[in-house]
Symmetry: C2
């Protein structure tokens, strides 16, 4: 017997497979094959990643060593980039993975210490991580050549640079292209000083405006969230939370999903069709009824998350729907650190 | 060899056991034994719950059926209250637990539908959940007697009422007592109409001002967070996130913990001693240095979460410290739904 969405235990994270596939096709038309390096942090699922690999995107980037290890164990280790910095025990784990021969392992480095940690652990391929304006990781562009030379002096291969213009993802469309272009110009001196073929960067919010990346590091585009849609409107919401209405008055309703199954850093989720969110508690969403249309208790209600990455990370699995039918189950198997 | 906190893989959630034990003792002095019904949703760990049970708090309340099932499986099922409403498959699971005989199972009910679902599933003990001002679950006080009669007509035992004055947890101290007292007065008619011995309610924020509960439903008090301290200042922060400094400039530092290991609904976490948080990304915290005191890369840094419940729920385990020594490991084994 086919299971349908009302059969799911709630709260349940659900993927609309047709919308997901449309998002994948839209992105692949502009960034085909390995010109897209999907960012595993957005979905933390080897089952989902396998679907992208089948579409030709066989190189991935990760934010954690756990993601790297899990992708390699799932046979998805053709070309894994840790788009992050690691030191100490985390670098040792990454080195063990590289030495195991189960994956091609490349890591970002942005300091003498991270170059030395990678070399010491046996991670022999690096990208120089260059800061192009977001106050987070990445070296000063003027230091990139020096770090590349240091890495080569230790026998490492410098595959190129990476840079994330994350501060521009949510820029208004008018003017975004110019600013992304300027970030690329900041990067250019580092590209020349570093050597190597790769310029890895960008994201869902700059998928049409980034002209300097040789490979795009986008992850959110395939599932999407309410916060990103205005900044990448070619992609559609393919992920939602399926909840049950468990309590109601004439004024408000209460759903059985809350803070523990929704990323809240981009604000409240969107209650679809039936009302608007008032507030979110640990295990509840309280919303006001739209147009006084009170529903019967036990009704299923769809909720769109504000931020895909932490929302997915709070679930054990995503249920995959073809229309109303549950056709698959993607474990979120790359959680934790 | 004793493991110490710098040996932990980061980001790591850490409990200061001495502070935890002081919090437990402080609460037990006012709410000893079963007058405290610790709320499992705050910590989702049977190992932690076992420590509270050893202190005499052998009755617990839960927010999810998964928590109920896990507590029973761990042998902590003396008196488990689902302080929530369930319908459909969730009610069926709760009924299966009640019929298994591994736990005493009581559930909240606030509607004809939830009474019927509990009765149909075989959950034969209930509390009438009464709304005292927070727009969430709970029936109108005037309906409590009718629901109690309905439950008894189905052969159920009505153990009393529950009510959560959650809208008053963060009231200024001046005047909080009066408002909590008023909520109790709203509840009084329902208590009389319902019958039963229990008046289950309150929380960490009203632990000194709630005079009407026969048992307090507090959970946050034992671990605490930065948001709650001003509202329950007798308790201290016993929980923090241990991170590694992985990147730095003269102006800012970057830690290897982010949105996926911190509840963000109460705002940014607090970077302890070394600086102040600028923003949190999926896997990073960017903070500005205090007083220009830049630390070496690889240094461990403590971060205090804004909200304990979703923070704990995003981790697989809590590491327990006696000073700097890691003396125990509490799995967060009650996550999910």
């Amino acid at each position: 017997m086919t299971r349908t969405v009302p059969d799911l235990p709630t709260p349940a994270l659900v993927v609309d497979l047709a919308a997901f596939d449309r998002n994948v096709a839209t992105m692949a038309a502009r960034w085909p094959g390995t010109t897209l390096r999907p960012h595993v942090k957005a979905f933390k699922s080897t089952a989902l990643a396998r679907r992208l690999a089948a579409n030709g995107h066989t190189g991935f980037c990760c934010a954690t060593v756990r993601e790297m290890e899990g992708m390699a164990a799932a046979g998805l280790g053709d070309d894994l980039l840790l788009a992050n910095e690691v030191l100490g025990p985390a670098a040792e784990r990454l080195g063990a993975l590289a030495r195991s021969g189960t994956a091609r392992v490349t890591t970002g480095v942005d300091s003498v210490e991270t170059v030395e940690a990678a070399a010491g652990a046996g991670v022999m391929e690096v990208l120089i991580d260059v800061n192009v304006g977001l106050p987070r990781c990445g070296c000063d562009p003027a230091d990139a050549g020096r770090l590349a030379d240091l890495a080569r002096s230790k026998g490492m291969t410098v595959r190129g640079v990476m840079a994330y213009e994350g501060h521009l993802m949510r820029e208004p469309e008018d003017g975004k292209g110019t600013k992304v272009q300027a970030a690329g110009e900041v990067l250019q001196a580092a590209v020349e000083a570093t050597g190597g073929d790769l310029v890895s960067g960008g994201g869902t919010g700059t998928w049409t405006t980034n002209t300097w990346a040789t490979e795009l590091q986008a992850g959110s585009y395939c599932l999407m969230d309410t916060e990103y849609v205005p900044h990448a409107s070619e992609f559609e919401n393919a992920l939602y939370l399926w909840c049950t209405l468990i309590s109601a008055t004439e004024a408000w309703g209460v759903l059985d999903g809350g803070l523990k199954c929704l990323g809240m850093d981009h604000g409240d989720p969107t209650v679809v069709d039936v009302g608007s969110c008032w507030f979110v508690s640990d295990e509840h969403i309280t919303f006001g009824w739209a147009d006084g249309r009170r529903l019967p208790l036990g009704t299923g209600v769809r909720v769109l998350p504000g931020h895909v990455d932490p929302t997915v990370a709070s679930h054990e699995r995503m249920y995959v729907l073809d229309g109303e039918d549950v056709v698959d189950d993607w474990p979120v198997d790359l959680r934790g650190w």
